[in-house]
């Protein structure tokens, strides 16, 4: 519909006003859907919000990677309290001009499945942030990597997944 409007060669004032309104509305909705607090569709997903960041050049700094887990699900923390469970872990590729430190994971929260409250695993739910120490030369940088995680809900578990992440930041 919008593309059709844009392809018109003869535009009258009324359609232009309508078009501007539609575009403004769409832009507003897009902003809301991109927000960490309002995932586009609450449909069993883990989201990574790629937010451009800025750090001082040539100085040790921390980048923040924010993830959101859909309500009703949890994933194992980086230290899930059991050697048999798959920890959440970030793997990053080397990037020119960037010295990477070891990712800093948040502490998880205890969780026990119904019918066996004695066994507690350490999980993330809601949102969590992984901090990444970097020292970068001045300029724009991008670091690619993956977050490996394994999710469960209240009664079932799902196979491990890897989520692609791309960290974009500027060192000034």
């Amino acid at each position: 519909m919008k593309a059709t409007c844009l392809n018109r060669t003869r535009l009258t004032f009324a359609p232009i006003v309508s078009l501007v309104f539609i575009l403004a509305t769409t832009a507003h909705l897009g902003h809301a859907q991109l927000g960490m607090d309002a995932p586009a569709k609450p449909k069993s997903t883990v989201l990574y919000a790629a937010e451009p960041q800025s750090v001082p050049a040539a100085r040790s700094s921390l980048l923040e990677l924010r993830f959101q887990i859909v309500p009703g699900f949890h994933i194992n923390s980086h230290t899930p309290n059991s050697q048999f469970l798959i920890p959440t872990a970030l793997t990053l590729q080397p990037a020119d001009g960037v010295k990477l430190g070891a990712p800093q994971y948040p502490a998880g929260v205890p969780f026990s499945f119904p019918f066996d409250p004695g066994v507690k695993v350490d999980v993330y739910s809601g949102s969590f942030t992984v901090k990444l120490p970097v020292v970068a030369t001045a300029g724009d940088h991008a670091i690619d990597g993956t977050l490996k995680y394994q999710a469960c809900d209240n009664a079932s578990c799902y196979p491990p997944k890897t989520l692609p992440v791309r960290i974009v930041f500027t060192a000034k």
């Binding site: 902003h31 066994v119 009664a155 079932s156 196979p159």
Partner: protein
């Protein structure tokens, strides 16, 4: 002049919308589906009434056990059977499996047979065997195949998932997720009772 102004407004709106659409598409590519249907469901077995297997003959399988021996569905012909799909990463599976072990012994005189089918592509037999041993499981643990997963799981990847097969070879119940031990025993009894003596 006015036309130029309007054109500028339209162009800027279009550019803004286009950039946001690209950002949204990029974010969509980062999304990973996790099977939402029973997310946060009550702590009780989810009876998968919609399973195409319910009321149908259990699909034939021939799978390898942890010793490399072939085990087939037909090996259990005429016996009540529980086919339990599990994974080494699955904490609720490991709560349920000792219960299945207990019932396999308790109802052995009724002919009950339990088999575990490991739905786990990332680990080797040693890890699977270690987990089964630590859980005290003595019933057969079989290694899944894409065909068995297609035939039984119908595209879902939620674990645990169990199929209750009566003496006639018919699937009388399908459950997904962890329920109570009492519920599990009720379904075992129902499976034993189904299909006549």
């Amino acid at each position: 002049m006015m036309a130029a102004g309007i054109a500028l407004v339209v162009w800027s709106g279009w550019k803004n919308w286009s950039q946001r659409r690209s950002a949204m598409q990029a974010q969509q590519q980062d999304r990973v589906d996790l099977m939402p249907d029973n997310a946060g469901s009550a702590a009780s077995y989810a009876y998968t009434d919609q399973s195409p297997l319910r009321g149908k003959p259990a699909p034939a399988f021939t799978l390898l056990d942890l010793n490399g021996k072939k085990v087939s569905l037909s090996d259990f012909k005429g016996r009540p059977l529980v086919v339990n799909f599990w994974g080494t990463y699955c904490a609720p599976c490991k709560i349920e499996m000792p219960w299945l072990e207990e019932f396999s012994k308790k109802y052995a005189a009724d002919g009950l047979q339990v088999v575990g089918v490991t739905y786990d592509s990332e680990v080797g037999r040693d890890t699977i065997a270690r987990d089964a041993q630590q859980l005290g499981v003595t019933y057969p643990i079989l290694l899944s195949t894409p065909k068995a997963e297609k035939d039984y799981l119908s595209g879902t990847d939620a674990l645990p998932m169990s199929f209750y097969v009566d003496k006639t070879g018919k699937v009388i119940e399908v459950t997904a997720g962890l329920g109570s031990k009492d519920e599990l025993e009720s379904m075992v009894k129902e499976t034993i009772a189904s299909g006549g003596k």
